[in-house]
Symmetry: D2
Subunit: 134 residues, 4 copies
């Protein structure tokens, strides 16, 4: 599967008093990377949610923190599709410092396709090829 690369810069708001990025913010970065990944394989998450009423509810997240990121550093996130079915999808993430490629964290998220009522549903067929299903 394809790997998509997203860049972002650490915001002051994302640091904590330890002087490094607060751990929950890596999950926000995963979301940013995930949205961009989806665009890179040809579909808009925003559109799927608005037009088809399909949401990607997070079912599980895992993250290992290897090296702390700091304010104003550039971070590169490599996102790939780890698994995809009509009912769920898993993404894998690798976060690195832009400057020297040092690995900051690795993570994974698992998502379930849901309707607006947040009940599990199936991904519409028209999106299957975007996720390599089928």
């Amino acid at each position: 599967m394809s790997v998509h690369q997203t860049g972002l810069r650490v915001r002051y708001a994302e640091t904590d008093q330890m002087g490094v990025v607060y751990y929950a913010n890596y999950l926000v970065w995963m979301e940013v990377a995930r949205v961009e990944f989806c665009k890179s394989v040809g579909f808009s998450y925003e559109q799927m949610e608005r037009e088809d009423g399909i949401l990607l509810a997070v079912a599980e997240v895992h993250c290992r923190y290897l090296y702390p990121a700091r304010f104003d550093q550039e971070v590169t996130i490599h996102t790939s599709l780890a698994d995809a079915h009509p009912r769920m999808v898993r993404f894998a993430y690798e976060m690195r410092l832009g400057e020297d490629g040092r690995k900051l964290a690795i993570g994974e998220t698992k998502h379930v396709f849901c309707g607006r009522d947040l009940r599990p549903t199936r991904l519409p067929e028209k999106y299957h090829r975007n996720f390599g299903i089928g």
Copy 2:
């Protein structure tokens, strides 16, 4: 008008690398205090939004930061209604350290009543007395 008092404790997540609470988080505290204020005058913001489809969109915020709050400190927020009409409402906030009453910040928010479409609307009459509109 009544003044409502809300207490909260500073979360690690709310600090930044300056070692104090990041400035945007005071607005989150105002929201927490506002929601509790509404309950104290007899109505549930959550219910109004869910049952009547009335939202309180923020139109304006102002905050003066007087003294920095730090991790794990108790903060007390005094909230009062500064103004209320069927179309808008203004709240005033005073944030103090729980420990010694030192003033941390003062703020104000102005809100417009909106429907789900985010267009301005009028507060239903049944809620008028909660806001002292009369």
Copy 3:
């Protein structure tokens, strides 16, 4: 080991456009619960960080989301010590709706004791019994 129970109420800020709590905020709740757990076993995280220069850097997090939490709901977090050594500690969390006890999420965090320079260190002996070490 002891289990500590922490209560909090969902903030509007913690929701996202799906109408439920954004997934990264569960990690903030884990932090709130962890800090309270530490107090319940007799020591202050804030003090350890300030006086001894010992930080609890997060090394790993895992969270499974079972049921979505919504604005203004009360959430109860049961926190326990899953493992503790002089170099690291693991906490386990179970988050439930206050109203009916419905399980919202389960999670785990692993932490490494660090000095101010963020290099791994050993937990000072005086704190060992708080964590049931040795």
Copy 4:
């Protein structure tokens, strides 16, 4: 004075259950824009904080919300220096939708130069010309 333009894209994390960007996040955007503005006039906020121990503590913020921003929209922030003295600086912000230039919000922040102890200090002379002081 110069006006600097910063672009960003609305994150899912920044929305709330109203379906629009939560109001406190505009202050995070101001910070992002402010940091970029500083770079554009030739100095690094990160470096000043790390090397000179000079912090820009926020003393006051004001924001007027004109139109709601939504997930995945591009936002453009125009930042300018409203005022600058050796002891304080004020920034003005104008936030617009990237797509059609619609004005989302206008804001202002006032900052006081502080040392690491968070006591007011003077901006070192070497930075004066960056802020047009003198």
